[in-house]
C-alpha cells in the first residue's frame, strides 16, 4: 500500500454518531449500516473531517494519531492504519484521492 495515497472524508456530517465510553456506534445513512469504532478508528474520521478541503496522506494521519494517543513510532502502525483506511473506503465512510 502506498503511503503517498491521500484520503478525505465523505459526508461526515450525515453520520449519526453515538459515543459509549470511548467507543462509537456510527450509523451511515447511505448504506443503512451501523459500524462500531474504537477511539482510534473514530479519530481517523474526525481528523479527515477536520480538513474538508484537502486530502490527508497516510503518513500525516499516522503522525496525528501518534501525537494524540502518545504512541511510539512503529513500522507496523502505518500498515494497520492503511488497512483501516481501505476498510473505511469500502464502507463508504471516506475516499481516496489520487
Amino acid at each position: 500500500m502506498s503511503s503517498k495515497t491521500s484520503w478525505r472524508s465523505v459526508n461526515f456530517s450525515s453520520l449519526h454518531i453515538e459515543e459509549w465510553n470511548g467507543e462509537y456506534t456510527v450509523f451511515h445513512p447511505e448504506s443503512g449500516k451501523t459500524h462500531f469504532l474504537n477511539q482510534m478508528g473514530f479519530q481517523i474520521l474526525v481528523d479527515l473531517h477536520s480538513r474538508p478541503l484537502s486530502a490527508i496522506s497516510v503518513d500525516e494521519i499516522c503522525q496525528n494519531l501518534m501525537n494524540q494517543f502518545q504512541l511510539q513510532s512503529d513500522t507496523t502502525f502505518s500498515d494497520q492504519v492503511s488497512k483501516t483506511l481501505h476498510r473505511f473506503d469500502e464502507l463508504g465512510l471516506i475516499e481516496q484521492v489520487k
Binding site: H16, E18, W20, N21, E23, T25, F27, P29, G32, K33, T34, F36
Partner: protein
C-alpha cells in the same frame, strides 16, 4: 370470550370450518385445521386466549394433511400461511410444533412496523426485562421459570418494540421447551401446564408450556424496558450477574434483531435509546432458585 368458554365441539368446528380466530398479543391469527389430534392439543393450551370475531386477522394459517406417493402409509402435515407453504412436510404427530414455528415465522418475517429482537421478555415492577439470546442459551427455560414466579410473560422468543414510543408489546405465546428442559421444568414447576411431548422434531423433543392466564389477560399492557440481561445456562456454574458495557449491549442487541437492518436509522435510534435507558448485564446461571432471587433483587431495585 376466551377459548375455554367455548365447548370443545364448537372449538373443533371453528378450526375445521371458518377458522379459529384468536388474539395473540398485537396479532390476530386465524387457524384452520381438520386434524383432530392437533385440535385436542390446542384446546387446553390455547384455553386462555381471547377469541376474535369481527377484527381482521393479520395471519391466516392452516395445517393440512399431506399424502406422500413415496411413503403412502406414513402420515404427514404441511403448514400454510396465506396459502403459501414455507416449510417442507412434517410427520403429522409434529403438527403442533409446526403450527407454532409457522406462526413465529410469520411474526418474524412479516412484522416490519416494530423492531424485533430475538429475546425473551418478561415484566416485573412495571419494567420490562429483555433476555436476548441465541438458541441453546436456555432463555425459554429461564423465561418459563420466571413467569411462574411472579413475572409477566411478554414472550419467550420475540422482543417486540415500538421504535417510536420505545414500548415493548406483549405477545404471550406457547413456550416450547426442548429436550432436558422438559424434565427440568416438570420437576421445578409441577404447576406448569405442558402439552404432549413431541418426539424427533428438528429440535429434538419439544413440549409446549401454556402461558399463565394473567399474562394473556394483560397482553394489551405494554411496558418500557428497564433491564437487558444476556443469559446463558451453564451446567453447575455459579451464578454470575455482571454489568455489561453499553457498547457491547448495543452490538449484541443490534446483531440479534430480526429486522435491525431493514428499519435502518429508526433501528439505530431505537436501540441507542433502549440501551441508554436500561441497565445491562450478562448472566450465567445453573440454578433456578438463585437466578430468580438475583433477578428479583435486580428488579426490586428500581
Amino acid at each position: 370470550m376466551i377459548v375455554e368458554q367455548v365447548p370443545v365441539e364448537r372449538f373443533v368446528s371453528l378450526l375445521s370450518e371458518q377458522g379459529l380466530r384468536v388474539k395473540l398479543g398485537p396479532f390476530n391469527v386465524q387457524i384452520r385445521t381438520k386434524l383432530l389430534q392437533l385440535a385436542s392439543q390446542l384446546y387446553p393450551l390455547y384455553a386462555n386466549y381471547e377469541l376474535v370475531e369481527d377484527e381482521i386477522a393479520e395471519f391466516h394459517v392452516q395445517v393440512l394433511p399431506k399424502h406422500s406417493v413415496r411413503r403412502p402409509f406414513a402420515s404427514f402435515v404441511r403448514f400454510l400461511i396465506d396459502g403459501q407453504s414455507p416449510f417442507p412436510s412434517f410427520p403429522s404427530d409434529q403438527a403442533l410444533a409446526v403450527l407454532e414455528w409457522g406462526i413465529n415465522l410469520a411474526v418474524a418475517v412479516r412484522t416490519n412496523h416494530l423492531l424485533l429482537f430475538h429475546s425473551a421478555v418478561v415484566e416485573r415492577n412495571d419494567g420490562a426485562m429483555l433476555l436476548p439470546a441465541w438458541p441453546g442459551s436456555g432463555k425459554t427455560t429461564l423465561c418459563t421459570a420466571l413467569v411462574h414466579r411472579g413475572y409477566r410473560l411478554f414472550s419467550d422468543e420475540f422482543g417486540l418494540m415500538d421504535p417510536q414510543l420505545g414500548d415493548f408489546l406483549p405477545v404471550p405465546r406457547l413456550m416450547p421447551l426442548k429436550n432436558q428442559s422438559i424434565g427440568v421444568i416438570r420437576n421445578y414447576l409441577p404447576e406448569a401446564v405442558l402439552g404432549d411431548e413431541i418426539f424427533n422434531t428438528q429440535k429434538g423433543t419439544v413440549a409446549h408450556v401454556r402461558p399463565p392466564k394473567e399474562s394473556i389477560q394483560r397482553a394489551g399492557e405494554t411496558a418500557k424496558a428497564k433491564w437487558i440481561v444476556f443469559p446463558k445456562w451453564v451446567a453447575n456454574a455459579p451464578l454470575k450477574l455482571e454489568p455489561l458495557p453499553q457498547s457491547e449491549a448495543f452490538l449484541l442487541l443490534a446483531s440479534n434483531s430480526f429486522n435491525y437492518g431493514m428499519l435502518g436509522e429508526t433501528s439505530f435510534k431505537a436501540v441507542t435509546q433502549l440501551v441508554r435507558t436500561c441497565r445491562c448485564y450478562k448472566l450465567v446461571y445453573s440454578d433456578f432458585d438463585r437466578v430468580i432471587a438475583a433477578l428479583n433483587e435486580l428488579t426490586d431495585d428500581t
